[in-house]
Amino acid sequence: MKKLLFYIFLVLGAVIFLYPFIWMISASLAPENEISGLTFLPSGITFSSYIQMFDKIPIGKAFINSMIVASTITIGVLVFGSMVGYALSRLEFKGRNLIFYIIIFTMTLPFQITLIPQYILIVKFGWIDSYTGLIVPYLMNTLAIIMFRQYFKSIPQDLIDAARIDGCGELRIIFGILWPNSLPALATVGIITFMASWNEVLWPLIVIRDENLMTMPQLVTLFAVGGRAESQLGVKLAAATMLALPIVAAYIFFQKYFIQSMASSGMKE
């Protein structure tokens, strides 16, 4: 009896969390005149909202832009994060603690204070309307450094010593020895970084004006707000569905990793 009550609550919860997405997909496939009264499934499926959306905005180009930006940032964060994390956990040098404290301090610094001056920097560098402006400020991530530092600490010193005797340089040690032994850390940092940059919208809104360089969240936002959807709800929802699709697809396959990664990054903050 009590069990049944538990299940009722859980199913109710699942409905509340899933229903809006189901509604979104089914509304984006419904004929425009049915959407306002739609509760669950439309009477028939039509792709006209999607066709109109592709006509109005360069969503394909935006997908490629988002891919380029999020992938480059993720690779940068993994490479630089593990270099710094390695130095901080495995090498002795003057100023190491100072750098560590700076990192900890930076993590607590609210972004509100750096937003305006960072924008001014991008203007002065001439990086407005460029991939560079979207990517470079995000190539380094303090949370990633801390996570790599922690993970590398757990790797046995013998492994590193053996590599040194074989004549490996430090970069070979990081990318050839530590990386293959740090797959969980790489996956965690990779997933969080990719997801965060894929969903980032404030910074692109500030840095990009040229429609051909816009990332997906930015393009969809401006489309939804700017009135170009001409109050055609279906087209708006089709754009929203396109924006959600890639991350949801990845989530369905790597669900466990997503949840674990997000949980462990939440713990650290």
Partner: protein, 284 residues
């Protein structure tokens, strides 16, 4: 010699990034608060006038009040629902993985998508919530058009989006409670509620603390939700800290004043988080 240099070479990308994108911006931001500047024409030194303006700016105070309203609704909702669902998931149930994944879905989806979706649910005439209200014989609510409802509506939506993460964090917390504690309590004849308040709650206190801090930072970082849903209206009832910085900076090009806002909000966030830390540590 080369050996000594290697560590510094390895951390140099971080140091360069720190100087260019953190240290310099913080310094420059403070400098900007004493100036008026629209980037194009030369900077104009104005002393403390930006600060004077800040304290007399009704919209600035309104944005603080809005953030407060958001937090007062968002934080308790977040904690109650996350705890409730985490407790349920912590029982011996089937399909736990499925339920967890379903609750977590909004966390990974872009805020833009969530906002566009809820804008429809909150719609006055055709929105699902009002259709439901009408069906059970109640009056429609102006979820996003009534200034009294608009910020609470956004707070509820934000809870829906984030609560999955906290369910997972609470679940981790709940699983660290040694089962012997409950067994001992049961022997003594403790009720469910007693067990919850005497054992569970103290053990997951650190997680609650984290929810409070992360939600506070989230409240001050609210941007895309009001930007898409309401544009800050009606009657400025959903102007958030970041939305106001954005408007001043990128709409009016008041770089000096926008920096003053950013600087002030940042100080405020640090102060609030510090007070919360003190408060909660004392509680333990």
């Amino acid at each position: 010699m080369r050996k000594k240099l290697i560590p510094y070479l390895l951390v140099s990308p971080y140091l360069i990034h720190f100087i260019v994108f953190v240290a310099f911006p913080v310094g420059f931001s403070i400098y900007l608060t004493f100036n008026n500047w629209n980037i194009i024409s030369p900077m104009e030194y104005t002393g403390l006038s930006n600060y004077k303006r800040l304290f007399q700016d009704a919209i600035f105070w309104k944005s603080l009040l809005n953030t407060l309203i958001f937090l007062v609704i968002h934080i308790p909702l977040q904690i109650i629902f996350a705890l409730l669902l985490a407790e349920l998931l912590n029982q011996k149930i089937k399909f736990r993985g499925f339920f967890r994944a379903a609750f977590f879905l909004p966390v990974i989806v872009s805020g833009v998508v969530v906002t566009i979706l809820w804008q429809q649910l909150y719609g006055f005439d055709t929105g699902l919530l009002n259709r439901l209200l009408v069906k059970i014989g109640l009056a429609k609510i102006g979820w996003l058009t009534d200034p009294n409802w608009s910020m609470p509506s956004i707070a509820v939506m934000a809870t829906w989006k984030n609560v999955g993460l906290y369910i997972v964090l609470f679940l981790v917390g709940l699983q660290t409670v040694p089962p012997q504690y409950y067994e001992a309590a049961e022997l003594e004849g403790a009720t469910h509620l007693q067990k919850f308040f005497r054992i569970t709650l103290p053990m997951i206190n650190p997680t609650i603390f984290m929810v409070v801090i992360l939600s506070t930072i989230g409240g001050f970082s609210l941007f895309i939700e009001p930007y898409v849903m309401t544009g800050g209206g009606p009657l400025n009832s959903t102007v958030s800290a970041v939305l106001y910085i954005y408007k001043q900076g990128f709409f009016y090009y008041h770089m000096g004043y926008a920096s003053t806002l950013g600087f002030f909000f940042a100080l405020l966030i640090l102060a609030v988080v510090m007070i919360q830390k003190k408060f909660i540590e004392k509680d333990k």
